[in-house]
Symmetry: C2
Subunit: 317 residues, 2 copies
């Protein structure tokens, strides 16, 4: 049994070292002290992942740590921001040192690969949940908001769709091998941070797909005051999705499934090829899946009965 | 029953208006975009308040909202930082619109009185808990860390002690009138932000009292590599505390009780009077309660059996 302080020290300590990343004071005082880049905007977002709402409580702890950070970082990616810092709040029902160590491994590993410094945290007793606030930076007027889509723009998506929903389906069937591509997509999503930065100056708007393509596309169109003609046949399907769900199920998962954490962007047609070239250099496809229209509304798909991934009332995974 | 999106819109909308406070883009996109003050350090802290661990689940919702923000802001106060922005993560078992509206009232009211802009949020289904990440600013080298106490410094505390523990005791006895001074101290603590800024350049170190005077003093001494002679008779007791707990109980509450959210600071003796003058201008006493020593350890009090407010294993209020 560990005290709150012991736990914090144990699982946050690895990241307080290494202050090259604009961290004047890391974990261990009342606040972290950070050094923002002069002239840049600070991009901030928070996401909380609750056990058996957003992820299975019995998932491997390192995947829970990775995933909780990844879904927050995905918001920075969608803004075209460079990820810099994060703080994390963990509530857990009991102080299980092995669980926390494995959780921290997954969290810290993603910190390292994305260049993010964990600069503070908080551990409480409670239902298993992880809240992560991420902070990034972006030069003024370079941020990719949801509001910039213009009629005539291409609609495009990074990577592949439906993997989140497909992975959840495989999990429910009892699959536990994280090497399974769909399970990896569901439990170990990769935030598209490098892609987001590469799309600065090309994309006119962006959002990350957390609630499902159709729902998030709706948010983007609403914020931009535009409509869209979607090409459902063009949706890039995740590896193994048709095998797992059948053709109609796969298309439905790509359209309405949540947890894909790909970027949905709009671009002037003249910018599409350059954007595809930049992302191909990262090994990431950028697929055109529709066209923005002046007239509001979404055509090309039937009105879905699924409103996307909603937590009230939510279905536990 | 409201969807996550409806709830967020309803309870966050009031704060997205009014962008005078360095908010280029508030609630409603993937991230908030903030404008840090050039040359200042960004102070960041997160605290999560869990129902029946940190506060009674049946407390008035507006008090829960106030308190969750207050405890995070208290960390900025202890750093001498000016509070600027916050993001909030709320998990709640059901989407009760009246509850959320009252909760939001309490949260927003404290935002207004402290000049903090709520710039983002996240609502999930789960056990009732509120995580608040606060961001503030402080000029380089002006931050009040825990590590600056020097032998010979005075130890002083703002306001009065024991009110948090006394209020919790009254709550357990069935008191529900928020006009009761002790209950106010427990459920509606006031973060000492103005005091923290006023102590810049005078205090050599600071910490806020969340885990109890003795526990937090221990943290400060450890970070500074010093010891302390405490004057227990000098502790300023909260109004109504002796009546509620008796003399020995009151002294114990002041020494070991949590949730006071006063500032514990050290100052060179020559600075004490000026610090008291500045805080008196805010109507806040600053009481000398001990002296920092070169020799580690805490004298003046018996070794306490209470290690302060710990959440593992924690006692529910």
């Amino acid at each position: 049994m560990h005290s709150e302080f012991d736990l914090i020290t144990r699982f946050l300590a690895p990241a307080s070292a290494g202050s090259e990343a604009g961290v004047e004071l890391g974990v261990g005082d009342d606040c972290a002290l950070l050094e923002p880049t002069p002239g840049e905007r600070l991009a901030v977002s928070v996401d909380t992942s609750v056990a058996d709402v957003h992820f299975p409580a019995s998932a491997p702890p390192h995947a829970i740590g990775h995933r909780a950070l990844a879904v927050s970082l995905s918001d920075l990616a969608a803004m075209g921001a460079r990820a810099r810092w994060c703080v994390m709040s963990l509530t857990l029902p009991e102080a299980d040192g092995d669980w926390v160590a494995d959780f921290a491994d997954g969290f810290h590993a993603l910190c390292r690969t994305t260049g993010v410094a964990l600069t503070g945290g908080d551990v409480s007793r409670g239902e298993l949940a992880v809240g992560v606030t991420v902070m990034g930076e972006v030069p003024p007027a370079m941020a990719l908001t949801r509001a910039g889509a213009r009629p005539g723009d291409c609609l495009a998506v990074t990577g592949f769709l439906g993997g989140g929903a497909g992975g959840l389906a495989r999990w429910r069937e009892g699959e536990r091998d994280l090497a399974t591509p769909l399970l990896r997509r569901y439990l170990l999503p990769q935030p598209r941070l490098v892609a987001g930065v590469a799309l600065r100056g090309l994309a006119s708007s962006a959002i990350d797909i957390s609630d499902g393509l159709q729902a998030d596309l709706g948010h983007l169109c609403q914020a931009s005051g535009v409509g869209v003609v979607l090409s459902p046949d063009a949706l890039p399907l995740a590896e193994g999705l048709v095998e797992a769900l059948g053709e109609p199920g796969a298309r439905q998962a790509a359209l309405c499934g949540g947890d894909d954490y790909e970027l949905l962007v709009t671009l002037p047609p003249a910018c599409l090829e350059e954007a595809q070239r930049r992302l191909a250099a990262q090994g990431l496809p950028l697929t055109e899946i529709g066209r923005i229209t002046a007239e509001p509304g979404m055509s090309g798909v039937e009105a879905s009965t699924s409103p996307g991934w909603r937590h009230f009332p939510g279905e536990a995974p």
